[in-house]
Symmetry: C2
Subunit: 275 residues, 2 copies
């Protein structure tokens, strides 16, 4: 609590520069820390992370005034161990993030849920090479909203510990495990041997996505593979799939973007499985 | 054709600075011109715009080499009137756009389709206040993919003539009219009097979006109202709606983002109407 009395107001201080540096993957891997921006992502972090995984909270006075209940909750976790709460000037906030709305946290990688053994549930998402951090975060949020148990990521994906991914996920990275694999083909093989059906999308897919076809997955475990935003699935990734699905379109746009396509695929199969 | 022999290589020239300045809305309104970036959006522009509406095309040598058929098509339209094709250096390209892949066009506002009288078809989208240009472009692309006839926009929306909106729409702004209104309430009233059903989304909506409920719109004309990305629909916008729909979710994410929500709503009603 003592720390809150002083306002950190030097954007060039060692401490603040280190937090700002967490935008770089190398700095995150070296320190095992990342930065979490915005009141909603910080809320999910504080509620979901194991004890001791959140090290510092940087809050502006305006941010604290907007979300008093969140500050109170953070303060209640201080005594539980390890969390330091700092009041910062708007200049310091700006040096750390342009979209934090007054709330920035630093957390250890232990804050991310880990996965052990085979995934639970009946819905999962596989991302071999989604490159835009905003897309990766949006896809993790979507997987969360559809009740998917795991998002499997390839080495070419934007890193789920990236502050941009965390922000776009609005904290869903703290709900759903997002393990990263060198060899996704082996993951797919293991999933299939455990009874999962692997489904991908293709403009020339032989099954059309409709309520009826989605209904055929109602009692199956379905793992969706969504391709790179520019190129879709490559030939190898298509070969992983038991089924290739095409999404009916009705106008003159040639395709949907990857997040729109994933929204339809994940949600339609979740509805078929659960309703 | 003469122009192609010389390479424009001065990013600071008057001509190039004017094209770069079209990022500003005031410059677009004053000149009645906008900038179109990327080979796919330029393709849609060249195919859809009325004669004389595309004034200049700026292509790098690398861009021309990647899409020879597009350059050929552009050259075939030169004689039809008005279009000037320029070869530009990579530095000039970079001064104009960071995501053009070698293809930039300048077009008059006449390139955008206009709407006269009441909208055709049975699907439309109403955007009172979508502020992010990427979201507005994505929503226009989505409306196009779902066969919507019109995207009605309020004054608080990002401007459909913005290069960022055009790029995110991947050219769908040249397929679907996107008229902008001071008084969207009057537009809603007119639509309803012409037999359209106005549907919005709300976390507390009384009808759940499912294949069954979507089926009830199969023989109706449906106009979806999608709210601001941060706040959703406000009370006034909710009062426009005949039906408020909630989207079932199955995990711990509190909500979907506006483009994911719109994807489900528009596509589900398009499928119900057309399949």
């Amino acid at each position: 609590m003592v720390e809150r009395r002083e306002i950190l107001d030097n954007p060039g201080s060692d401490r603040i520069r280190k937090v700002a540096g967490l935008s770089r993957r190398s700095a995150r891997l070296r320190s095992g820390l990342t930065r979490v921006e915005g009141p909603q992502a910080v809320t999910e972090l504080l509620h979901c992370a194991p004890q001791g995984a959140v090290t510092d909270l940087y809050v502006t006075e305006a941010g604290a005034a907007t979300r008093p209940e969140l500050l109170e909750f953070a303060q209640s976790t201080v005594s539980a161990g390890g969390l330091h709460i700092h009041t910062v000037s708007p200049q310091v906030e700006k040096a750390l993030s342009d979209a934090a709305q007054g709330w920035i946290a630093v957390a250890r990688f232990e804050a991310f849920p880990s996965v052990t053994g085979s995934p639970e549930g009946s819905l999962a998402l596989i991302l071999p090479a989604t490159q835009d951090p905003g897309n990766v975060g949006t896809l993790i949020r979507l997987a969360d909203a559809c009740g998917a148990s795991t998002v499997f990521m390839g080495q070419d994906c934007a890193d789920a510990t990236s502050p941009k991914v965390i922000r776009a996920s609005v904290g869903s990275v703290f709900h759903v495990p997002t393990p990263r694999f060198q060899d996704l083909a082996a993951v797919v093989k293991a999933l299939r041997s455990e009874g999962w059906t692997i489904v991908g999308t293709s403009l020339s897919g032989d099954v059309m996505l409709t309520p009826v076809t989605a209904g055929t997955w109602s009692n199956k475990k379905v793992a969706w593979v969504m391709g790179n935003e520019a190129h879709g699935l490559d030939a190898t990734e298509e070969s992983w799939c038991d089924v290739l699905v095409s999404i009916p379109m009705f106008g003159r746009a040639e395709s949907l973007n990857v997040t729109s396509a994933a929204t339809l695929c994940l949600w339609m199969s979740a509805v078929a499985q659960r309703m």
